[in-house]
Amino acid sequence: VIDQIRLWEMERNRLQASEGHLYEQFRCQADYDNVLRYAQTLGVVLWSNARKCMFVVTEVGHQQVRAFIQKRIAQRK
């Protein structure tokens, strides 16, 4: 019976939803690597894929990552 309850619980928990922001269409691999590395040091990355050059950060992390990108863009000018 315990196994059955565990199975049932697993089925119930099959879907996990977390609010976040998807980052995509980076200008180049280096930009992607750089921003992802920053987000990783903050510990806010929910998902990432180097091949697609995309990652998802948490709601909280988004503010900081956005600020980081804006700073980088400003520095470039």
Binding site: E19, G20, L22, W47, V56
Partner: protein
């Protein structure tokens, strides 16, 4: 330089993901199909997806749940 989209990350097993893809054919709420176990969707659809999934699981477990409780030792 980069595009940012607000939404909800759904993590699930491949079977559930297939169900989500099927639901999307009707409502189109998927923003990005990320990989085998992740999809990025519009926040407004999450409750509906959860409900649909719940209903499906309910159907599957109905027989088990409706069995009389085991006799106590």
């Amino acid at each position: 330089m980069v595009k940012v989209i607000k939404g909800v990350l759904l993590q699930c097993d491949p079977t559930v993901k297939q169900v989500i893809l099927n639901l999307d054919e009707r409502d189109h709420f998927i923003i990005e199909d990320l990989d085998e176990t992740h999809v990025f969707v519009e926040a407004s659809c999450v409750e509906k997806v959860k409900k649909s999934l719940e209903d499906l699981l309910e159907e599957n477990t109905y027989k088990f749940e409706s069995q009389p409780p085991n006799n106590k030792d």
